[in-house]
Amino acid sequence: MSEPRVAVRKTYKLYIGGAFPRSESGRSYPVSGPGGEVVHVAQASRKDLRDAVVAARSASVKWSAMTAYNRGQILYRIAEMLEGRREQFAGYAGVAEVDAAIDRWVHYAGWADKYSQVAGGTNPVSGPYFTFSLPEPTGVVGVLAPQQSSLLGLVSVLAPVLTTGNTAVVVAAQNRPLPAVTLAEVLGTSDLPGGVVNLLTGFTAELAPWLAAHRDVNALDLTGAAPGVRASLQAAAADNVKRVYVPSDDDWTAAPGLSRLNAFVETKTVWHPIGV
């Protein structure tokens, strides 16, 4: 008589600098797995967050220097890898949400090599000067992922950050972290350079203040922050004049528009005389 096969259970770890470490604090916390079972995920500490910011900063040099075409190719490859794991993700979020998430990722991959044509242009100044204004990535963006929509919402806040050439430190949905960890595995197999995305699972209330106050983070997306703490996070962000994105609504199924692309770019204007 054949015995039931013993399954190999997954360990859910952080994603920092292209590697999958446990929290340096050694802590973990329980959440519900896809079959209702209890799984333990890493509980990231402020030191993990600090390391993630270092990784994101280091990766930002290479990521922002790539051609937009190359970034678009890598982002499209991520969509290919997501499609390959459709069933796995459906176990967390349902097929409809998974399909929407993959399509949303494809949407943002397609922005990489055309956003600057929409957001930039030449300025018809009144003088013999050629001037143009271009969007450039702001640098390292700290993202508090939405607490409820753990896949479509996560993709909707992360993809636009990457498409515009930024790197990210993401704090995943506290009670629904598994799609984020699986997404990290997708990123790890998609030719995405290590450190471009760093994903931390843990307690939002513990990690958010450190992210908001970190002086080597250029911008902050407050989506996953509870409304009551947003003001204090914005105040902390003022310390190095971070660009803070405060979301207005949570309808992830609506067309995303440009606001999340516009939120994390700097506009550079260049002048040059025209003459012989």
């Binding site: 075409y69 499209y76 494809v106 949407h107 397609g110 990489a112 055309k114 929409v118 440009l258 012989v276």
Partner: protein, 478 residues
């Protein structure tokens, strides 16, 4: 004298092209024999037949246009931009996967060096599909209003100089905007477009969205004149472009044209000389000079003429003219006997007009259509070889003294497709760019193409732009 470092033959394998004995046209999602003549497509490097193609007849044209109309009014219009885009991403990725096969096929059918089809034609073709795939669901942001609509059924006629790439330039934006298409590759180079049709079929594009018809001028005329066509896109000679413009006059059909050129490559005395030499060489010998935007006139500032010509001649002696499938070949075969005859005729005109003719020593094969890279110095603006498009590896050299004179000579032509400017001075680059009546100005570079950058001409070089956000305009009802 045998060279010290003699490069041994480095042939790319012909088998990789997976040549079939015959190729069929693609109508309403299926391959079939055309009702026109069966024609052999030959390899211009040795005049040997490559494959047979049955050309389209009038009923095929009619079937194709009707299929495109059904697809446009049916599934294709109903589909969201996001879904349309995913089909285009599939096509882009498939071109990347089959890139080596397509490159070898293109070199066999066209005569261009494998180095060019591998490094330029095929990657750019994939990139065009990739770029426009991303626009399909973002048309609201393209600057044409909140909900720009497609035009309908597009008739697209493309030339033989970049067969696959021109097919990509036409199909990608048309489909991204929600149109359907009937595409006709050139008579001498049908094969890569028919393999692209295979890729499109494997991508499961709904039947009729793209139709590919092989054939000559008669098929092209039939497409242009067909009542079921809403928009025509043509790349080819100015002469034929004018015929098409006359044909559609008063019909309400939309039209974009990308025609000939006689570009000036302007080299100032403060140019980065070694790179200017590279730009000149690339400008006129890339694709054997068979390029609409070729830098076929070198306008060199008189003070550095001797130095530049000496450097240019030294550089031309390292150009390798040879078999297109040899990886070390820089200059391949001319596409057809007709084109070769024209190049020879105009070169004789150049000599007769008194210009000094020079070519580096090179051994040309006996079979096939071959022409040595050629330089004419002492050319004046009034000579035919400074005015007429030769479309071959022939450079006419003129001089100028001042920036104003350079601009005047550069603009003194009915054409206006491209121009080159070589100088280390930024303000001069911008001043020249402002004043040159050309749709593309390359400064300190030449022959740079990218799907994001609009390309097209002024004056008799045509109208409309391909590439970039502007490239959508030709395929939207705006």
């Amino acid at each position: 004298m045998s060279p010290t470092f003699d490069y041994a033959p480095a042939p790319e394998s012909r088998d990789i092209a997976r040549l079939q004995p015959s190729y069929q046209i693609f109508v309403d999602g299926a391959f079939r024999d055309g009702t026109g003549d069966a024609v052999k497509s030959i390899n211009p490097a040795d005049e040997e037949p490559l494959a047979e193609v049955t050309e389209a007849g009038p009923s095929d044209v009619d079937d194709a246009v009707r299929a495109a109309r059904r697809a446009f009014e049916g599934p294709w219009s109903a589909m969201s931009g996001a879904e349309r885009g995913k089909y285009l991403f599939r096509i882009a990725r498939a071109i990347q996967e089959r890139s080596r096969e397509l490159a070898v096929l293109e070199s066999l059918d066209n005569g261009k060096p494998i180095k060019e089809s591998r490094d330029v034609d095929v990657p750019l073709a994939a990139a065009h599909f990739f770029y426009y795939a991303g626009w399909a669901d973002k048309l609201a942001y393209a600057g044409y209003g909140p909900d720009p609509r497609p035009i309908g059924v597009c008739g697209q006629v493309i030339p033989w100089n970049f067969p696959l790439l021109m097919a990509a330039w036409k199909l990608a934006p048309a489909l991204a905007c929600g149109n359907t298409a009937v595409l006709k590759p050139a008579e001498t180079t049908p094969l890569s477009a028919l393999v692209l049709a295979e890729i499109i079929a494997e991508a499961d594009l709904p039947p009729g969205v793209v139709n590919v018809l092989a054939g000559g001028p008669a098929v092209g005329q039939a497409i242009v004149a067909h009542d079921g066509i809403d928009k025509i896109a043509f790349t080819g000679s100015t002469e034929v472009g004018k015929i098409i413009q006359r044909t559609v006059a008063g019909t309400g059909k939309k039209l974009t044209l990308e025609l000939g050129g006689k570009a000036a490559n302007i080299v100032f005395e403060d140019a980065p000389l070694d790179q200017a030499v590279e730009g000149i060489v690339n400008g006129i010998f890339f694709n054997q000079g068979q390029v609409c935007c070729a830098g076929s006139r070198l306008l060199v500032q008189e003070s550095i003429e001797d130095e530049l010509i000496t450097a240019l001649q030294r550089r031309l002696a390292t150009l390798r003219v040879g078999h297109p499938l040899d990886k070390n070949t820089d200059v391949g075969a001319i596409n057809s006997a007709a084109q070769l005859a024209r190049i020879r005729e105009l070169s004789e005109v150049g000599e007769a007009e008194g210009a000094r003719r020079w070519s580096p020593p090179c051994e040309l094969p006996d079979r096939g259509f071959w022409f040595a890279p050629t330089l004419f110095t002492g050319v004046s603006q009034a000579s035919r070889i400074a005015q007429e498009e030769i479309f071959g590896p022939v450079l006419s050299v003129l001089t100028f003294r001042t920036p104003d004179e350079a601009v005047a000579k550069a603009n003194n032509t009915p054409y206006g497709l491209s121009a080159g400017v070589w100088t280390e001075k930024g303000s001069r680059i911008l001043s020249m760019a402002n004043r040159l009546r050309a749709g593309v100005v390359w400064a300190n570079t030449f022959n740079r193409f990218d799907p994001t950058a609009p390309f097209g001409g002024y004056k008799e070089s045509g109208f409309g732009r391909e590439g970039g956000r502007h490239g959508l305009a030709g395929y939207l009802d705006v």
